[in-house]
Amino acid sequence: MIEIKDLHKSYKMGSNVLHVLKGINFKVEEGELVAIMGSSGSGKSTLLNILGMLDGADSGEYTLDGVPIKNLSETKAAQYRNKFLGFIFQSFNLINYKSALENVALPLYYQKVPRKERQEKAMKYLERVGLKPWADHLPSELSGGQKQRVAIARAMAAEPKVLLADEPTGALDSTTSYEVMDLIQKINDDGNTILVVTHEEDIAHMCKRIVHLKDGIIVEDKKIEQVRAEQYV
């Protein structure tokens, strides 16, 4: 599903050049649930942003579902993001003046799905994350966990090939974190490919594979026994 070879990325800071990714090689198969770990500043978000086509790599190859991702125009990148990718952010990134339902329906708007169908589909995904009764609420009226579940429903609504989550539980307490991970596991159970960036050991162990980043390279990449989050909820 995802294949990257010798990926490099550096940031220019005035006259300094900060080399963040120094040759990343890795592969993700369909249906995997991968945790990306590493200390702060190790380049986790940078990697995820490149995978999400929110940022470009300096060099290296990136293939997503057999499509080489290289020198994309903004328009093309937007198209691919819309078709292939769903994002879950630490800070939720919901549009504050839109209701839960409208937020979930938004990616479908950019897929040119008709309004009625959009709302039905959005409602279906809201139901899956258990927030159907909250459909008409604004983000400001939701708790952190609920916001993240709306964000997950939104990422799912577009039916992407890959879900990219950057510290999805970073702003949540542990119980709520497990609820969110439970949801992510269930989505993964349905066969969706998911990458989760996290700091937390316990969250990482709820995935099926852990990739360790350090100083811009992968230092460890292991398959693990998945801990089900359900039992903590």
Partner: protein
């Protein structure tokens, strides 16, 4: 523009950001409002001044004698100048080609006027037949003095409409009634109408009758002329100035007055006066345009500022939309579409409101030199279009920039 889905998206946004929309709309609407009102009053002043000058024939020239203030050819200053018939006839001959109508006039003083037993306190003036055209008096009933009356010293009188209303209310028509002027009966043969009541309070009799019957001799009090219409306003003014100067020179020579002693013979031309006011109104109009354009510029700046703030405020939203798959152009289109929509609605709202106000209030405004302020619809309409286009352009820059910002940058937590 006809993408229904986008319209819905925009209505959603507008509905949920009422304050922002209201403020944008208000600045646009008030800009248009101020402009229309200013332009309206500019036009109103023009109308008012034109109206003032409609009272007398616009090409009229009037001569009023005064007192000399300079010694000249051995004559002392302080001499009162008295015009006589010859001055008028001679001037008419000399300037025959330049004159359309002309009349000398004499104010009949020291006479009592009666209608039956009622004493009238109106002024009596002796004028020639052409005076009707110079004064721009409209005949309502009967006729004005004619040449025959002058030649035969006819005992006839023309009265103003106000006199008719005040004095002849009891009879069907004053025509055929007699009024006594110092005991001599004059037959009323016409009623005239003027713009102002004040000018309807005169009794006109033939100048010849006035001089012979009331010991006027050959004296006259003033002269008045009109000039034939010219091709355009500037020519008319030039013609009036030439005639005025020529006439004054002739009169100064005849009465032995220093050429620079302007107070002794005053010649006043309506055209010149009109030009002064026209120039003034042009300047006023220009000034109002200037203020109006500044208002529009302020409006445009306001709109673009609001757009900039709106875009800044929406940076994160734009980032989210782009992460969800919005193409840069769809972001620009969304922002502009909303801006155009709000500007257009509020712009036309302001236009309609201000035009309606002018339409309602305008005709009721009764101030000197302001009449029926109104505004050319096309001008106002174009202004709204200009504002919309300018607002769009002003909005385009920040929208374009926002659409170009990288998603990770717009999503970064501050």
């Amino acid at each position: 523009m006809f993408d229904l889905e986008r319209w819905q998206e925009i209505f959603d946004t507008i509905r949920k950001n009422k304050l922002r929309t209201f403020l944008t709309g208000l600045s646009v609407a008030s800009g248009i409002f101020i402009l229309v009102i200013l332009l309206g009053f500019g036009q109103g002043m023009r109308n008012g001044i034109e109206h003032e000058f409609e009272q007398d024939a616009s090409t009229s020239v009037w001569v009023w004698p005064g007192v000399t203030s300079k010694e000249y050819k051995g004559l002392n200053p302080g001499r009162r100048i008295q015009l006589v018939n010859e001055n008028y006839t001679k001037a008419s001959t000399i300037f025959n080609d330049d004159i359309e109508y002309g009349s000398a006039r004499i104010f009949v003083r020291g006479v009592s006027v009666n209608y039956g037993k009622e004493a009238l306190i109106y002024g009596v003036q002796g004028v020639a037949s052409d005076f009707q055209f110079i004064e721009n008096a409209k005949m309502m009933e009967g006729r004005f003095i004619n040449y025959q009356d002058e030649a035969s010293n006819g005992k006839v009188a023309i009265i103003g409409n106000k006199i008719k209303k005040d004095v002849f209310g009891d009879v069907d028509t004053p025509i055929g009634e007699f009024i006594d002027i110092s005991g001599i009966p004059f037959k009323v043969i016409g009623v005239y109408k003027e713009m102002e009541d004040r000018e309807e309070e005169r009794i006109y009799i033939p100048i010849t009758t006035a001089q012979r019957t009331f010991n006027g001799g050959n004296r006259v009090n003033n002269l008045s002329f009109t000039l034939p219409p010219a091709e355009n306003f500037d020519k008319a003014v030039a013609q009036a100035v030439d005639f005025k100067n020529g006439l004054r020179e002739y009169l100064q020579q005849t009465h032995t007055i220093a050429p620079d002693d302007t107070g002794a013979i005053e010649v006043w031309s309506a055209m010149e006066e009109a030009k002064r006011y026209y120039g003034l109104t042009n300047n006023i109009k220009l000034f109002f345009w200037f203020v109006g354009v500044c208002t529009i510029i302020a409006g445009v700046v306001g709109v673009s500022n609001i757009m900039m703030i709106v875009v800044k405020e929406r940076t994160r939203e734009i980032g989210i939309r782009k992460a969800l798959g919005a193409k840069p152009w769809s972001i620009i289109a969304m922002i502009l579409h909303e801006a155009i929509f709000v500007t257009a609605i509020s712009g036309f709202g302001g236009l309609i409101f201000s035009m309606a106000l002018l339409e309602l209030v305008g005709p009721n405004i009764e101030v000197d030199y302001i009449m029926n302020p109104s505004v050319n619809f096309n001008v106002a309409f174009s202004t709204v279009i200009v504002l919309i286009v300018a607002g769009t352009l002003a909005g385009f820059v920040p929208a374009y920039r926002a659409a170009k910002v990288k998603v990770i940058e717009s999503l970064r937590d501050e």
